[in-house]
């Protein structure tokens, strides 16, 4: 009898603890949402209110209409989608070669690709900038996109996955006289949906949330990506915090929505990162 009561108490305490931690994790976002709906004068009061007395959805409109916020969204979408699609293509094609084709010095060549994973991006920021500058790609979509068309990490992940696909499945196609490109498209690709989904999400989140590289490449206001725009809003004190929170909420929603819908792929992608080492 006692044991059962203990068990229930323990269970309740557990949920309390879990919820307390959840409150810490999610709380700041809820608070930013709350602030984003306040009037300016209700934002800067002490003690603060938790539920706005007047809910101003128009704060969001204000942000969208001032500066080029919708344009920032568009820019982010373009540079992110382009890089995601390109990375998936370049990395999967190369991975197929390393997983299925035999050519001289193949393993040494693969190691050559892996070495790049150890170079921290910041080491290459300045030279990349100089290269982009030489191509006259400063302040253009190309400048942001082109260096990101391929990553060695994606190559590594795809190759791991392809190596695990049984070769027998392709043997029938080889006998039928298919060339490797056909094998890649007709057999490998359909079987690779999980890894493509995982890498797409991984790459999407990275590119969407990136600050340093877009910041380096972009000069003009219209070419800013979302993160750069938001950063500048904050640093230059362009907005009061209620509007700034509205901007932050809008910046968070894409990846947050993406995450809530495709949760299991996130965890899978991340487990792969842990395996990277």
């Amino acid at each position: 009898m006692n044991d059962k009561r203990n068990e229930v108490t323990r269970r309740i305490l557990l949920y309390v603890l879990l919820s307390a931690v959840a409150a810490v994790m999610v709380g700041p976002f809820l608070w930013s949402l709350s602030t984003s709906l306040k009037l300016g004068k209700e934002t800067y009061i002490f003690p603060p209110t938790f539920i706005p007395s007047t809910v101003r959805w128009s704060n969001y409109l204000t942000v969208l209409q001032t500066a080029h916020f919708p344009r920032y969204f568009l820019n982010s979408t373009i540079v992110t989608v382009a890089r995601v699609i390109a990375t998936l293509l370049t990395a999967s094609l190369a991975a197929y070669a390393f997983a299925r084709l035999r050519f001289p010095k193949r393993d040494m060549f693969f190691f050559f690709f892996l070495v790049g994973m150890m170079i921290p991006p910041q080491v290459t920021v300045v030279p990349k900038f100089l290269i982009i500058r030489r191509f006259n790609w400063i302040d253009t979509y190309w400048g942001i996109i082109v260096p990101g068309l391929f990553t060695p990490f994606a190559l590594f992940v795809f190759r791991q996955f392809f190596l695990a696909i049984p070769v027998e499945l392709e043997e029938a196609a080889i006998i039928d006289g298919c060339n490797h490109f056909q094998i890649f498209c007709k057999i490998i690709l359909p079987l690779s949906k999980p890894v493509f989904a995982t890498m797409a999400i991984f790459r999407f989140v990275f590119c969407w949330n990136e600050l340093l590289w877009p910041l380096v490449v972009i000069n003009s206001e219209e070419m800013r990506v979302l993160q750069v725009g938001l950063a500048i809003f904050k640093i230059e004190g362009m907005f009061q915090y209620n509007l700034l929170m509205a901007a932050a909420v809008m910046a968070v929603i894409p990846t947050l929505g993406f995450f809530l819908i495709f949760q299991r792929y996130f965890v899978r992608a991340q487990a792969l990162t842990g395996l990277k080492l």
Partner: protein
């Protein structure tokens, strides 16, 4: 070479070429270029590129701002790594159970991880506001005096560290969780039969089984800490008085505000050397165990 091998080699060239071009052009070549530039003085737009050899590294060693940034970065790494190892492990243990709704909690703890550091930085800047921020409100309610957070020279960097740990804890939690779930249940059952409580179980089963995973967390967290740029850039821009300037922020400042291409490359090369040194050191320590 047999005919098939020739065909395969040619095919391979086509498959690999796109990735190879980008990789060589934007990974390998820039890396070599960075090292090359580090021996040259070059103010973009102002003068010609000049070879100065070691002199640039000598200036670097004499640069107080550089040492400040390096110190801050070491402090940043030295605090975030242990914090992740403890907090994320705690979270993983907490959510490693099959009770109802645990999935929701795991999801909730991962939410900060997918949100951008820029947005996180903006949101926490508001939480940290000295006069109107929520945190000082709670502090004063509990009877403490308001904290300076990002405004104080000694409190700014710890404040940023807190935000970073908050954002990334879920990331390492997932890694630990995978490790925990690989521990065979029988070990715990045997321990329970022997009468061991949860602490001995933790010490003698959980922790040793996690040594590989812990090592991964250690290395990844250490390396990641050297890449911190966004939070500082958004929340404090390196201030107050450079107390939050990390090595990458300093590099950005030298490269894209002062336009010193050579000097910033020296900083970058030093960063790389440090990272390689650290990774090798940790591998060596691990091998010895």
């Amino acid at each position: 070479m047999t005919r098939t091998k020739r065909v395969e080699t040619v095919t391979a060239i086509f498959f690999v070429l796109p990735g190879l071009i980008i990789y060589v052009g934007f990974w390998i070549y820039p890396f070599m270029s960075a090292v090359y530039l580090s021996f040259h003085r070059w103010s973009l737009g102002l003068g010609q590129i000049q070879f100065v050899g070691i002199k640039q590294y000598v200036s670097l060693v004499q640069d107080n701002n550089f040492w400040n940034a390096l110190r801050n970065t070491f402090f940043f790494m030295g605090t975030t790594v242990p914090l992740f190892m403890v907090i994320s492990l705690f979270l993983a243990v907490l959510v490693n159970r099959g009770i109802k709704g645990i999935g929701i909690f795991r999801t909730a703890y991962y939410i900060p991880v997918v949100t951008s550091l820029v947005a996180v930085g903006v949101i926490w800047s508001w939480l940290y506001d000295v006069d109107y921020g929520l945190l000082n409100f709670f502090l004063t309610k509990l009877g403490f005096s308001p904290f300076l957070w990002l405004s104080g020279i000694n409190t700014a960097l710890p404040s940023i560290i807190l935000v970073y740990v908050w954002q990334q804890a879920g990331f390492y939690m997932v890694i630990y969780l995978a490790g925990l779930q690989n521990i065979p249940e029988v070990y715990y059952e045997a321990a329970k039969i022997d009468g061991a409580g949860w602490w001995p179980q933790f010490r003698h089963i959980t922790l040793p089984s996690l040594s590989e995973v812990t090592f991964v967390v250690l290395i990844v967290a250490a390396i990641q800490s050297w890449r911190m740029f966004a939070l500082v850039h958004v929340m404090t821009e390196g201030g107050p008085l450079g107390s939050t300037e990390l090595i990458l922020n300093y590099l950005y400042d030298r490269a894209f505000r002062a336009f010193q291409m050579g000097y910033s490359s020296s900083i970058a090369t030093i960063m790389f050397v440090f990272l390689v040194f650290f990774t090798l050191l940790q591998w060596k320590i691990r091998k010895r165990r």
